[in-house]
Subunit: 588 residues, 2 copies
Amino acid sequence: MESLRARLREEKLDGYIITGTDPHQSEYVAPRWRTREFISGFTGSSGIVIITLTEAYLWTDSRYFIQASIELPSCYTLMRSGTEGTPDPWTWLYEYATEGMRFGVDSSTISIAHFSELSSSLKEKKAELVASDDFLSPIWKNRSDVPMTPCEEMEEEYAGKSAHEKLESIRNVLRKRNLRWTFIASLDDIAWITNLRADDIACTPVFVSYLFISLTKAVLFVDERRFDKDLLRIVRKDFSIKPYESAAESLSSLAKGPGYFNPDRVPEIFSSALSGKRNEKGADISVLMKACKNKKELEGMRLAHIYDASAYVSFLSRLDRSQIYDEITISERLENERKKIPGYLGPSFSAIAGFRENGAMCHYKAERGSEKKIDGHGLLVLDTGSQFRFGTTDITRTLFFGADEPTEEEKRDYTLVLKGHLALLSLRFPKGTKGFHIDAIAKQYLWKYGENFFHGTGHGVGCRLSVHEGPQRISPAVIDVPLMPGMVLSDEPGLYKENRYGIRIENLLAVKEDMKTEFGTFYSFETLTLVPYEKKLIEMELLTEEEVRIIDDYHKHVYEVLHELVDSDVLPWLQDATSPLHVNRIYS
Amino acid sequence: MESLRARLREEKLDGYIITGTDPHQSEYVAPRWRTREFISGFTGSSGIVIITLTEAYLWTDSRYFIQASIELPSCYTLMRSGTEGTPDPWTWLYEYATEGMRFGVDSSTISIAHFSELSSSLKEKKAELVASDDFLSPIWKNRSDVPMTPCEEMEEEYAGKSAHEKLESIRNVLRKRNLRWTFIASLDDIAWITNLRADDIACTPVFVSYLFISLTKAVLFVDERRFDKDLLRIVRKDFSIKPYESAAESLSSLAKGPGYFNPDRVPEIFSSALSGKRNEKGADISVLMKACKNKKELEGMRLAHIYDASAYVSFLSRLDRSQIYDEITISERLENERKKIPGYLGPSFSAIAGFRENGAMCHYKAERGSEKKIDGHGLLVLDTGSQFRFGTTDITRTLFFGADEPTEEEKRDYTLVLKGHLALLSLRFPKGTKGFHIDAIAKQYLWKYGENFFHGTGHGVGCRLSVHEGPQRISPAVIDVPLMPGMVLSDEPGLYKENRYGIRIENLLAVKEDMKTEFGTFYSFETLTLVPYEKKLIEMELLTEEEVRIIDDYHKHVYEVLHELVDSDVLPWLQDATSPLHVNRIYS
């Protein structure tokens, strides 16, 4: 910290901002860019650090308040984002700034849009935002290198389209809009366009790179040593390869004429190369192409879910619920079943297994040493996912443990969450519907009981790519993108009763064309996930006939797809878990 | 038309825009401002006219395509808004304009915001938008005067707050924001603030006026002859009164220092008087105060609905469905029952009674001579409303006529609309929920069957004011205003099967605080409307137990409230119409 402050004084700066992201604005970052953790010791996945000449501040959200207060050294002030009276870091900076002050930020880890916005705001106070170097490198001993895991091809049989075809689709858009080039910093878009995958970021099979595409050429800025000879030959058919580090310099000469880029993803370090007045800005052209999975990608996603489900039901059937597990061993048991599956590459995110009150923390991660024992009565929220060669999965099931019966409240709550989950997955909706229009469909039953959850109901999911992928989302936030056929989304309502228990039920769904009527085109969802719900937690009295039918049909389908894939010891459990719900009520 | 063109040539203009609204941007206008009708002969309630030196165009929406094609003289081109290939009038004008062209518009009938937007767009083409006089007056023989119906007081017992208190609330907002004045052109806001009502616009009890409010005074620009002596004395306690026509001139000297106005409601004619750089713009300060009804206003709305329902059920019980009515006589029969009720002032909008295929036109209005006979099997959509001294109602019921039974399709469709209607009125929702979050709640059941309707589910309603009142709305459009306690909204899903039949079911609801839980504050709706649904059209098989309970509870409440108010001949019908639905099903 003091060497950083010495550098600030040297550079005549009054403060330094550490955004904690990488030069691609990635959600998760490789160890090299865990700058927040290096400077503050805080290991959470989200937070902003601002160091002034005398003070140090870390902003993080409610998930991490406890963790941050333990991990941060005493010289830090913890800023609890979202709590009353706590300004966000940018408002805080605006208020802190006085005439003549100068603040630095590593220009490779802040987006062009964010830099420009923050800069204008500081200008109002006659202060300055300075696009600085990375001041941490000189003082960071044993810092990890830029990652350089080997690249491999996503076979066209799974990708559905060649890199060449994808380049041409992007060029067609450029031509239509009278643009000459586009520059892409977003790692999952680059992986999707190039049909290449690697292992640079844990659970997300991308490779650190930039991509420049003009009407006649494509330049991939990446370390060439990542490719074996054969792959290099293939990649060179469509791309010329230049060193990752040379991107900023090369871009100045490449980006001639009107072009296109996403100022929310491209870092400030490229801003002078991209400053042409006729350039247009917006979401990357590939974003919607990537979001709307093609036929082969959907086939891969389906296959991934079938394989994943066969591992999942094997795991469930082999659990002995009278035995005492803990939150970590239970995730490992599931992981071990998945490892047996052909094409399995690893988890798509760090597993969440939260028993009892731990399940009430949305993003809880059990740590070795403090993991909870699964001993006796309680609910376990198990949120996990897989990367396969051909697709990505993300599934949450809430399991009941205990020799006794679930309480009425547990059953009611599970059933209310399930009702919302089913209402969404069985929804038919008109073309043009956006995520914010239908978030309430999954929440309406909880609301009836004065209950609610405070995350969106669904996020987009990539195909052998990021488990969080935009632009589509189902949440109250106004994201102005309609749901379109081929988009894959999670359907994951939940309920979190602080210090008591959590519930979440998550399937992945694919948007599909459903019917055309005199009232227009309607879409619906294909359910990809194939794992039975926890019948013991279902309160039959709260279900309508239609809901019972939806559950029974789903379970029947799960059995039909899985029964020939699983080992024979799994079958009795599978049969029981997917048998019809018993309904024998007389209504009066 | 030719005298208008002569004037255009005289003023060196290439065209003239007729917005068809009044100097207050009212939705409905007094006869004096039916400029669209005067110039084109088209009598529909919505449309834009542009006259060039050689051509004439009228834009209107799908509701009026047939009517406009009949009414427009041959020199007009009908522009069908919303159909493929038809630009909206402003895009059309942009495309039509060439360098040096000048277009006039009466600066009293276009808002400051719209003038500015259109002006900038024409500037791009080096053309000019000219703030002109009203060119129609000199050529319009027997034009109606500015309306001058007598003003009367909305008694404080119904208004809930005195004009003085309302002025102080507005001044408090001005003080907090360091502003010195506000200027208001919106007629329903002026009526609400002053607690005055008149009869200037059919069905909407407002009076043509402007209102200036500073921290120390309030100036009402209105013809003083509207007030009798006693009322004048009362009004003068809080307002100085100046002539309506003097507003623009007076405002220049009144509007000193930073002030506030709504550029979407104040006409361009005031723009120079309001051009101060430190002025702030936005929705009128009174809009939210008016939208969130106070206790007395809610009491008045409740009373209006009880009285209105007693007339409505009398009308229904006295209908002899074997007799042949027509669309006009049936509205008159309802109106005649309403006229018997104390406090009834008249309809809150022009009644819609559409039988069979006419019901499939959302905004159908039966005209004497072409009204449809109600003869035999069919559905009647009856959308009507009342103004009372103490509140406003708006109700739609769909009635079945015919000696036979409704078809399965009619019953299914009615029941799907009803399910959506019930899902909304029984919804509980968290504080902060906005209308666009819950529009799908009322549409989800229709969507299941590939059906839909293309209007919002709900609009705001005033208290003895406009039957359409903002800002609250329940529709897919993103209106960034949360639903708040005291807001009154309609709940009116429908279904329109072209050339066959229409269905719409509408109650008014008031938002109320409902419960606080560990998950925050929840709101729900109080149902104001008290008229039974059409049981004969309900398909029991499609209802859940909960929906049956909601209907039975509602009907029971209707009976309890109304049975002591209606004449004894109405009682047997009321008892039958509100008796519980018969459910005797065995589910297996």
